[in-house]
């Protein structure tokens, strides 16, 4: 008997029990859809964050107070300064600025939360404080107006430039430049706005407002500097600049600072994000496994229900192989059909949530899901099929 015959028989068996087949497939559908969707989210988020950091340029250094294990793996935190470590002040940034050669910008950065209000419209946003050189290290591009300048930083002037989300909610139909809003109850002049950048894991970058760090410190009453960003004049000099920065800060902070380049940040992030993606894939994989066990279960039921049929087939000349292939193909059909539907649903879901979470459906994820679901069918189908093929025709015919 050839493959086409086994296939035909399997199709009939699957269609003979439509509801049961559909429910069995549902397990695989959910498993595969989960794999596709979660891996798409993992890959998408990773791509977006990586892109954001790469967009910063390869000549940037980030100086944090405290120590971060840059070795990846281990216990190091990521995404922000570690809890331990004396915070920087504006004076430390000034010191770096004065003594570093080969740095084209040294920017102290602090952040806080603020409620921005215009008339009866208001919203919470992240306030990013920096110096006038901030424009050189932040990735946002101006859509209109200007950045704050040095004299405004020196004077703690109440001016700010707003991200796209803020502009859209407070000034849906008008130009914000030159308008006044209140930030935590204080009156501020809007001097510029930024183009849309898109979201990321750390929050909506478009819901940020940029203001002089001195103004932010006055507003929040906190004089700490969270991070000092250094832009090397020449990317090839970056290791030199890093060594210098450490030396300059050593008298005050000893070893208790971390200087990271974009590469290192990327390295840590991608390790973490890879782990995250694998974890998501693993969780989804478990549900696929459960789907496979469902197939095995149904195939075992199906074999014992059809004991008599198997006996008849054997009596008229079916060989072991014929029965085996009939049932394996049946199991594979359930799992592959489930797999294909699952891929479509997973990819559709990934597409549907794109505006909320970045997703990327990669061909390899689809290929793996496809072959994995075929494999699930074979793996979980072989045992019931083998049981069927080993049935003694006499026993099978006598079976009631």
């Amino acid at each position: 008997m050839n493959f086409a015959e086994s296939f035909r028989i399997a199709v009939r068996a699957v269609f003979a029990n439509k509801v049961r087949s559909a429910l069995t497939m549902l397990g695989v559908i959910i498993g595969v859809a989960a794999v596709i969707l979660l891996v798409a989210i993992g890959t998408g988020v990773q791509g977006e964050i990586t892109g954001t950091i790469e967009g910063l340029g390869s000549n940037l250094l980030f100086v944090f107070p405290g120590q971060i294990n840059t070795g990846g793996g281990g216990g190091g935190g990521f995404g922000g300064p570690p809890s331990a470590g004396k915070p920087f002040s504006l004076a430390d940034a000034k010191l770096l600025q004065a003594r570093l050669n080969g740095a084209s910008a040294v920017v102290p950065v602090a952040s806080g939360a603020g409620v921005l209000r215009l008339g009866n419209k208001s919203g919470r946003s992240t306030l990013m404080g920096a110096t006038d050189q901030g424009a050189q290290v932040f990735s946002a591009t101006l859509g209109g107006g200007r950045h704050y300048n040095r004299s405004e930083v020196d004077a703690s002037a109440r001016v700010l430039a707003i991200g796209y989300t803020i502009k859209a909610s407070l000034f849906p139909n008008s130009d914000p430049v030159g308008q006044y809003i209140t930030v935590n109850g204080q009156r501020f002049k809007v001097i510029g706005w930024y183009e849309k950048q898109g979201g990321s894991l750390s929050g909506d970058q478009d819901n940020q407002a940029y203001l002089p760090i001195t103004t932010l410190q006055t507003l929040t009453g906190n004089n700490d500097v969270r991070i000092i960003m250094i832009k090397a004049a020449d990317a090839t000099n970056i290791d030199l600049v890093r060594a210098q920065a450490k030396r300059i800060l050593e008298p005050k902070f000893a070893d208790n600072i971390t200087v990271m380049s974009q590469d290192q940040t990327l390295g840590i992030l991608s390790t973490v994000l890879d782990t995250l993606t694998y974890m998501l894939a693993g969780i989804a994989g478990i549900s696929l496994l459960v789907g496979g066990i469902g197939i095995m279960n149904i195939m075992l039921v199906s074999v014992s229900e059809r004991t008599r049929e198997i006996g008849i087939r054997k009596a008229v000349g079916a060989r072991t192989y014929d029965i085996l292939s009939q049932f394996v193909i049946e199991a594979m059909m359930l799992s592959l059909t489930g797999g294909i539907i699952g891929i479509l649903i997973g990819a559709g879901g990934a597409w549907a949530i794109q505006s909320v979470v970045p997703t990327t459906v990669t061909p390899w994820a689809v290929a793996i899901a496809f072959f994995f679901s075929a494999g699930v069918g074979v793996f979980f189908g072989v045992y019931p099929a083998w049981k069927a093929s080993q049935l003694d025709p006499i026993v099978a015919l006598r079976y009631e």
């Binding site: 008997m1 006996g311 087939r313 009596a315 008229v316 000349g317 014929d322 003694d392 025709p393 006499i394």
Partner: protein
């Protein structure tokens, strides 16, 4: 077959279904195996039909000993040479008559068009040419058994084995089935019928009687019955006439 013994193990207890049975079945013969229930008739038929192996003893077909063949080789032999008819029909449920009859050809590697042609031909021989797509559930008992006979003869086997073929049928359908089996025998096919009914056995040329796994009688039938004579006595000339008289549900068991 020579000195065949079959012992079943049932939860540790030995059941001796056959004790040293020896017999020859000749080509073109029509033999009945008789005996009360539990005497080992079906067991004997399964061994002759290569569905089962003896615990001891030798079975040979056309001089060839079949004891050492693998399950797959036995399956191939069954497919090519042997047709089975069972008491309970054993058709595939929810499967049309033609597809049921095609089944042995599927496993014999006969391809589509040829298969369908031979299946129709076989169904026409049992007067069911107009019921090709009826599933067993849509056929009467007698019709189902005729489908089973069509399935048994579609491979042009050398021997047809029938285990209580009339057991689930009313007397009219039973006579009809016996008529078909006699016709097959007349065409040169060896026919073995297992029955506990002496009247059914009288349709064959030879009766072998079993009791507790031993042959107690083996003799030629003196007053052989001809199913076609009986049919005309019952006022039915052909199977088709039965249909006309009784309808499709009338002869169900």
């Amino acid at each position: 077959m020579h000195d065949v013994t079959k012992v079943y193990q049932l939860e540790g207890i030995e059941v001796r279904a056959l004790c040293g049975v020896s017999m020859d079945i000749h080509e073109g013969e029509m033999v009945s195996i008789m005996g009360p229930s539990g005497s080992g008739k079906s067991t004997l038929m399964h061994i002759v039909g290569l569905l089962d192996r003896p615990s001891a003893g030798v079975v040979s077909i056309e001089g060839e000993v079949v004891g050492d063949l693998s399950p797959n080789q036995l399956a191939a032999l069954r497919n090519e040479h042997i047709g089975f008819v069972f008491q309970s029909f054993n058709l595939l449920a929810r499967t049309g008559a033609q597809a049921n009859v095609e089944l042995p050809l599927v496993y014999g590697g006969v391809s589509g068009a040829e298969r369908s042609r031979r299946a129709r031909e076989a169904l026409e021989r049992v007067e069911l040419g107009d019921r090709l797509n009826h599933t067993p559930g849509q056929l009467s008992g007698g019709q189902q058994q005729r489908v089973a006979i069509a399935r048994a003869l579609v491979t042009s086997p050398s021997i047809v084995l029938a285990d209580e073929p009339t057991g689930n049928l009313d007397s009219r359908s039973g006579v009809e089935v016996m008529g078909i089996l006699q016709d097959l025998n007349a065409q040169g096919i060896t026919v073995v019928i297992v029955t506990h009914d002496a009247n059914v056995a009288r349709h064959s040329q030879r009766i072998v009687e079993l009791r507790d796994g031993v042959i107690v009688r083996d003799e030629t039938v003196a007053d052989r019955l001809d199913a076609h004579d009986e049919m005309s006595q019952l006022g039915m000339n052909t199977a088709a006439d039965v249909e006309a008289v009784l309808g499709t549900a009338g002869d169900a068991s």
